[in-house]
C-alpha cells in the first residue's frame, strides 16, 4: 500500500561533478516551483559552509526522502551528519571517482559498531 502516492518523494545529491551528472542522467534531478534544485555540485573551491547549508536545507525539505552524498563531502560536514539521527531523510554516503568507499568512516556503521561493542560484556581477568 502506497503511503505517499500523490507525488512521490525525491532523491537529492551532494557530490562532485561526475556524481551529480550521473545521477541527474538517472533522472533524479528537479528544480521546483520555488526554483530550489535538489542537487549540489561540490568542487575544490566550494566552501564547507555552503555544503553544510545545502545539507541542512535538504534535511528540512519534506519532499526529500534520500540524500546521496559523496563520502569525501560527508567528511567535511561529519558533525552535522552525525547529529542527524532521524531515519528520514536517509543519508547515504557513496564513493566518488577519487575517493573509494571507506566503511570505517560511515556514520551508520560507526553507530552500529558502538551498539554492538556495548553489548559485549566486559571480562575481568
Amino acid at each position: 500500500m502506497a503511503l505517499h502516492s500523490a507525488r512521490g518523494k525525491l532523491i537529492s545529491v551532494i557530490g562532485d561533478e561526475d556524481t551529480c551528472v550521473g545521477f541527474l542522467l538517472g533522472g533524479v534531478g528537479e528544480i521546483n516551483k520555488n526554483r530550489h534544485p535538489n542537487f549540489m555540485v561540490v568542487d575544490k573551491n566550494t566552501p564547507v559552509s555552503e555544503v553544510e547549508d545545502c545539507f541542512r536545507r535538504f534535511v528540512k525539505r519534506d519532499d526529500i526522502d534520500i540524500i546521496l552524498i559523496n563520502q569525501n563531502c560527508a567528511e567535511l560536514i561529519r558533525h552535522v551528519i552525525d547529529a542527524h539521527t532521524s531515519p528520514v531523510p536517509a543519508v547515504l554516503e557513496i564513493p566518488s571517482k577519487d575517493h573509494p568507499y571507506d566503511a570505517s568512516k560511515d556514520s551508520i556503521l560507526r553507530r552500529a559498531r558502538v551498539s554492538f561493542i556495548s553489548s559485549i560484556p566486559k571480562v575481568h581477568y
Binding site: K9, P37, L109
Partner: protein, 158 residues
C-alpha cells in the same frame, strides 16, 4: 514487551544476529554501488573523449535560473509489515513529457547523445535501484538498533 530477563536476552540475541546480517547487506550494496558508479563514470569519460571535454560538465547542468522541471525518478513509500521499520521504498519512473515538465536529462548535454552517454545513463539508472535497496537496508538497520536500545533500557528497568 517481554517481562522476563531471559526472554529479553533471547530477543536481543535475535536482533543482534539480524543487525549483523543487515550490516553485511549494507556493505555489499555499497560495493555494488561503487562498481556501477565506476562503470558509469568511465562511460562519461568516454563521452568527453568523443564529444569534447566541455560536453559533460557542471556548466550544462540546470541552475536556479533555468526553467523548472520535475524529477523522472521518484520514491514511493510502501507499508511492509514483515519489516521491523514497517515501511520500504520503491522506485517510480515517469515518462518524458515536456508539457508536464518531465524533460530528458541527456538533452542538457547534447541533442544527439552518443551510445556511451546512453550507457552511462543506464548504469546510473541501475545504480539508483541499488541506492534504493541500500536505503531500505539502512532504514531497517536503524529500526533494529532503535529496538535494541529500547530493549536494553527495559532490561535495566527490570
Amino acid at each position: 514487551m517481554p517481562s522476563k530477563k531471559e526472554e529479553i536476552g533471547n530477543l536481543l540475541d535475535l536482533l543482534y544476529l539480524e543487525m549483523l546480517d543487515l550490516i553485511e547487506q549494507y556493505a555489499t550494496s555499497r560495493v555494488n554501488i561503487e562498481k556501477l558508479m565506476n562503470s558509469g563514470q568511465l562511460m562519461l569519460a568516454k563521452t568527453r573523449y568523443l564529444k569534447g571535454s566541455q560536453t559533460i560538465s557542471s556548466a550544462q547542468i540546470p541552475t536556479e535560473n533555468s526553467n523548472t522541471f520535475n524529477a523522472l525518478c521518484v520514491l514511493e513509500e510502501q507499508k511492509n509489515d514483515t519489516k521491523i521499520s514497517s515501511v520500504e521504498y520503491s522506485l517510480m519512473r515517469r515518462n518524458v513529457d515536456k508539457d508536464k515538465e518531465f524533460v530528458e536529462p541527456m538533452h542538457w548535454f547534447t541533442l544527439l547523445p552518443p551510445s556511451s552517454l546512453r550507457t552511462a545513463s543506464d548504469h546510473f539508472k541501475k545504480c539508483l535501484e541499488l541506492v534504493l535497496e541500500s536505503a531500505n537496508v539502512q532504514r531497517e538497520l536503524l529500526a533494529v538498533m532503535d529496538h535494541i536500545d529500547r530493549l536494553k533500557q527495559h532490561c535495566k528497568a527490570l
